[in-house]
Amino acid sequence: MPDKLEITNNIRTLRFFAHEMTQQALAEKAGVSRQTIIAVEAGKYSPSLELAFRIADAFGVPITDVFGFEKNEQK
């Protein structure tokens, strides 16, 4: 059984450095609802690859600057 991956993100930090971009503004740029951005930012929803790229594009950074992962070892 492979290790479980926990998807992490830096959306809050990136929003701060983008002149405190609101979740609403990011949602509009990424073409999703504010609810979805809130869930992604809180780590409650792992976005599709397409949405992940759109979020990265909204900040103008590579996808690896927005999303990362941590390995949780299976016992």
Partner: protein, 155 residues
């Protein structure tokens, strides 16, 4: 949320009507029960449409009030844009719908099996119709609950 409210309202009003005087007078009248169930399904659909319209109106009004409090002006384009973003279904909504639908269909399936088992054990066709009707709305109710759970706790 709407499906929870509607399913509770429809089941409650159906129970009051069908298991009250009207139902007792037509205990074995299959036609009466079929008509009653069809009418209540229709009521449920109409109520869902009306509640959705009211919900959208309230959302637009609250958006306008929020803007007025923040900027002292109401920008209709901004409200329209916000409404479009908030009401359109995106990938997370679709994922939540898919996952919660599974619970609804399972309950409906169990209801169908329960109906067949009831018939197999000698219950009347009216009992089966009622089991099917209740399991359909129970499925819708649980579907709504699961949606709330997924939105709150994550997918």
């Amino acid at each position: 949320m709407l499906s929870i409210v509607i399913s509770v309202l429809v089941v409650a009003s159906y129970s009051i009507y069908a298991f009250g005087k009207a139902g007792m007078e037509h205990v074995n009248d299959l036609q009466f029960w079929a008509k009653t169930i069809l009418i209540f399904i229709g009521i449920g659909i109409v109520a869902m449409i009306i509640l959705q319209i009211v919900f959208h109106i309230l959302m637009a009004i609250s958006g306008a009030i929020r803007q007025k409090m923040k900027n002292d002006v109401v920008d209709e384009e901004e409200i329209e844009r916000t409404m479009r973003v908030e009401t359109s279904e995106d990938e997370m909504d679709k994922m939540i719908e898919l996952k919660s639908n599974r619970f609804g269909y399972t309950i409906m399936g169990v209801g169908f099996m329960a109906g067949l088992i009831a018939i197999a054990f000698g219950a009347s066709a009216v009992a089966m119709l009622n089991i099917l009707f209740f399991s359909t709305w129970a499925g819708s109710f649980v579907e709504g609950l699961m949606q709330i759970r997924y939105y709150r706790r994550g997918v």
